[in-house]
Amino acid sequence: MTESVVDLEVGLINVTLLILLFITAIAIARLRSLFAIVMLSGVYSLVSAVWFVALDAVDVAFTEAAVGAGISTTLMLGAMLLTVRTAKADRDASKLAPLLVCFAAGAMLIYASIDLPPYGDPNSPANSYVGAGYLERNYADIGIPNVVTSVLASYRGFDTLGEVAVVFAAGLGVVLLLGFGERSIAASTKDKEDEE
């Protein structure tokens, strides 16, 4: 197979996935049923995870599938149960200003993307300097084959400690805001038993 055919196929896959993302985003913006929106945002995360795999970013894809499609969807379902099931209809505000903001932001992003190094460029900043250094030193230093794990857990262990502390603080914040849940769960299960 010649290189241009492979390039065309990869391009087709990318374009198809991006069109799917676009359709999902439009559907989310137009829907009013919160349950459908939560499910579609899970679909959006899954499709973007597939796209990350196509870009060879398997770790990002895996995290997107687990966090975006998994825990976010279930937590949004839980949050949805606390509120109404359908979003309020739009007021008759002008839609021109948001449209202009969208186009302006999109144009700026496209303009900025011109400066990005081409995909897979071995001389791009991400593939030279420290990145290349880690790839060379990893096995002698740490002795495990997965460079992502050794950067995350050993070279940058301090950052990861900070991330775990952030996740813990987020959990603590939600618990302090909403209550531990024990008393209200006990009350509602007691109500249910009383009904039975």
Partner: protein
């Protein structure tokens, strides 16, 4: 239980939930070779529990994993991670310098392996405990999904 209205959902999820939990541990302990690690494993494990709670109700879930346990699990994870740092300090190295964990000749990787496995366990406990605590805080408001919500 709300009768047989969701029998397919219950049967399928009964099959899938143990596999999801098992997959979380695979991701955890295979992190040296394949994508993933403590964060992803913690989230996947929390999803398995949350899925169970959404489908089979809060009561059974609470009997299995009470809220006090998830909070202590999260705190224990962070302490475990930070504790490895202090262990390295006591071994004469810098904070979180895993080479100082065990006394070994230069070029040995036992300290690195031990450090990474323990801090990944800390991440697993911290993330899954936090996620489950958040879910319990939400679920504490409404006990179960009603039939008309599906």
């Amino acid at each position: 239980m709300t009768g047989d209205r969701h029998v397919i959902l219950r049967v399928v999820s009964k099959l899938l939930i143990p596999l999801i939990a098992l997959y979380a541990f695979y991701v955890q302990f295979h992190g040296e070779y394949s994508p993933g690690g403590g964060f992803q494993a913690g989230v996947i494990f929390a999803v398995a529990i949350i899925l169970y709670a959404l489908i089979f109700g809060m009561q059974d879930t609470l009997r299995m994993i009470p809220p006090w346990f998830t909070r202590r699990l999260a705190a224990f994870g962070v302490i475990l991670y930070a504790g490895v740092g202090f262990w390295a300090l006591m071994g004469g190295g810098n904070y979180l310098d895993y080479d100082a964990l065990v006394d070994e000749p230069p070029g040995g990787h036992l300290g690195q392996h031990m450090g990474i496995i323990i801090i990944e366990l800390g991440v697993l406990f911290g993330v899954s405990g936090s996620m489950l605590s958040i879910f319990y805080a939400f679920a504490g408001r409404v006990a179960e999904i009603r039939d008309e919500d599906w």
